[in-house]
């Protein structure tokens, strides 16, 4: 498994869908279903042995289904730290899976586009978690994908279900449909506008959770937010999907209005901000991940508003995934210890190469 692209599939021949990076506010969509087997301890407390038995069964089952043949299996426990980190980041799997890794596994299938994937997670809190991601706002498509995968399991396995509580899950917050839709939103103008408090309040009122995209940071980095549905019980699946879609369209509207307003009221200020970020990105020799994100967010805004030129169009989400520490280490196949400064300096070069048109 020394191959750096060890989990990428070779046959990426399907035509790439035309996704425009311009004015992309919802950067990606992730839909997740949780399922547990009936008459079985949940993975929240089951022993390693019980987990291993289940994992083996699921592995066998997945191996026997023709439609699942392009899924690749990874045992969490037997992966190296960097590879694991990379896999979890790229497929947007919670890093909590790396605690108590015994008996946990992932089946992953990458789509034709970057950021498009389906993942089956075994024994992380719930017995099965099926999730699908799309590189833009496309909740319905991702939902249909997880449903399709779930059907194959449904045929063979009997899921824990209660007529009042719906699908039973280890955590009471997932009961009912056990469907969680989350999107990543890039809101560079809204995030600094005075309207942000109202915006958050509004989202909470319609039953949405909004957090910074990066877990464990109290501050928002790169103006990235993660927005997801809070309620899973008492609504139908279609209802949740439709509602989240509508909410996302509203979020896009809000950000666009804020951008227009800012442009009208303080064009010079925003220009100054964008070119300052540009200057830093162009000339800085050491760039931490957090700082890169902040700067790239502003540069992306500059491109969206047609304020800056001489920069390659880039997918914000793809780029920030490529410049994280694990990616840099694995792409360069660095052996031995790397200091933080080294990493930051490689990152600065990498960003320049990617975004500057006339790389000098």
């Amino acid at each position: 498994m020394a191959d750096k692209n060890f989990y990428l599939l070779e046959n990426r021949t399907r035509k790439r869908r035309p996704v425009s990076n311009k004015n992309k506010i919802i950067l990606n969509t992730r839909v997740r279903l949780a399922r547990n087997l009936a008459d079985c301890k949940f993975a929240s407390i089951s022993s390693s042995q019980e987990k291993n038995i289940l994992l083996k069964e699921i592995k066998e089952y997945v191996g026997n289904i023709k439609e699942f043949k392009d899924f690749r299996f990874y045992s969490i426990k037997s992966m190296g730290k960097i590879q694991r980190d990379l896999l979890l980041k790229d497929y947007m799997v919670s890093h909590k899976i790396a605690n108590k890794m015994q008996g946990k596994g992932l089946f992953v299938r990458s789509g034709t586009d970057w950021g498009e994937s389906s993942v089956i997670i075994v024994n992380h809190e719930d017995h099965l978690r099926i999730q699908s991601a799309r590189p833009d706002l496309n909740i319905l498509e991702a939902y249909h994908e997880v449903l399709k995968i779930e059907k194959y399991f449904e045929k063979k396995l009997s899921f824990a279900f209660d007529r009042n509580l719906g699908y039973l899950t280890a955590s009471p917050v997932n009961l009912g449909t056990a469907l969680r839709v989350s999107v990543t939103a890039h809101l560079p103008v809204l995030a600094v506008s005075p309207g942000i408090a109202d915006f958050v309040k509004k989202l909470n009122q319609v039953g949405c959770l909004i957090n910074g995209y990066f877990v464990g940071h109290s501050e928002i980095i790169g103006n990235l937010f993660k927005i997801s549905n809070q309620v899973t019980l008492g609504k139908g699946e279609e209802g949740i999907v439709e509602e989240m879609q509508a909410i996302c369209l509203n979020i896009i509207d809000d950000e666009e209005i804020a951008r227009r307003k800012l442009r009208e009221s303080d064009l010079l200020g925003i220009k100054d901000n964008i070119y300052r970020s540009f200057g830093l990105l162009k000339y800085a020799k050491i760039l931490s991940y957090e700082e890169s994100l902040e700067l790239l967010s502003i540069i992306r805004l500059g491109l969206d508003l047609d304020i800056i030129s001489g920069i390659n169009d880039f997918d914000f989400f793809e780029l920030i995934s490529r410049i994280n520490d694990s990616h840099i280490v694995s792409d360069l196949e660095i052996s031995g210890r790397v200091t933080d400064d080294q990493l930051d300096s490689i990152r600065a070069d990498l960003i320049r190469k990617k975004i500057l048109k006339e790389a000098d």
Binding site: F42, F159, Y167, G176, L209, L233, G234
Partner: protein
């Protein structure tokens, strides 16, 4: 000032809620605040102030407010109750924020249901059901869906369609209960 919940320790968190002319106060000690983190999931609930706000928000009226207090007390007293299937006790459930098996929801109904209700706002599943559930549950789900549809049709005064749906419901009910 002593904590409103345990009445023993010194309250360190104070919340005031003003709604119209009503002023409600909540004073709570660190330990009881921790108890509240029973709802903890991911990072959202980790923030104690938020949990309290959330908890406080649940009990907007007197009746429910005291009910929530009772839930809390039950949690602290019934710590050692165990699930007969998986053996997990309430203390552990609270600590990890997760139950151990399907039976836990039945076993700790009295404590979990109010919490579930406060998270989701209700206890009625409206989502899809597994293919291999019993015929009765499926029919019941159909009836529930039809009833909702009927309500909507009545609202938009589409009585013709409503009558059709009503007949369908009757037929299904006959199917289940044989009357």
């Amino acid at each position: 000032m002593n904590c409103d919940f345990c009445h023993i320790s010194e309250a360190t968190v104070h919340l005031i809620k003003i709604q119209d002319t009503n002023v409600e106060r909540i004073n709570i000690c660190k330990e009881c605040a921790k108890d509240l983190s029973f709802l903890s999931e991911e990072d959202f609930y980790n923030d104690v102030a938020r949990i309290l706000y959330r908890f406080f928000n649940i009990g907007t009226d007197r009746h429910r407010y005291s009910r929530d207090k009772k839930i809390l007390r039950d949690i602290s007293y019934g710590r050692n109750r165990k699930c007969s299937f998986c053996g997990i006790d309430l203390k552990t459930i609270k600590k990890i924020g997760k139950v151990g098996c399907s039976n836990c929801y039945n076993e700790f109904k009295d404590i979990l249901f109010p919490i579930i209700k406060s998270i989701h706002g209700g206890l009625e599943n409206k989502g899809k059901i597994p293919v291999n559930t019993s015929r009765k549950i499926k029919l019941e789900k159909n009836i529930r869906d039809l009833r909702n549809k009927l309500k909507n049709e009545v609202i938009i005064e589409n009585f013709e369609e409503a009558a059709k749906i009503r007949d369908k419901i009757k037929k299904l009910e006959k199917n289940i209960y044989g009357r």
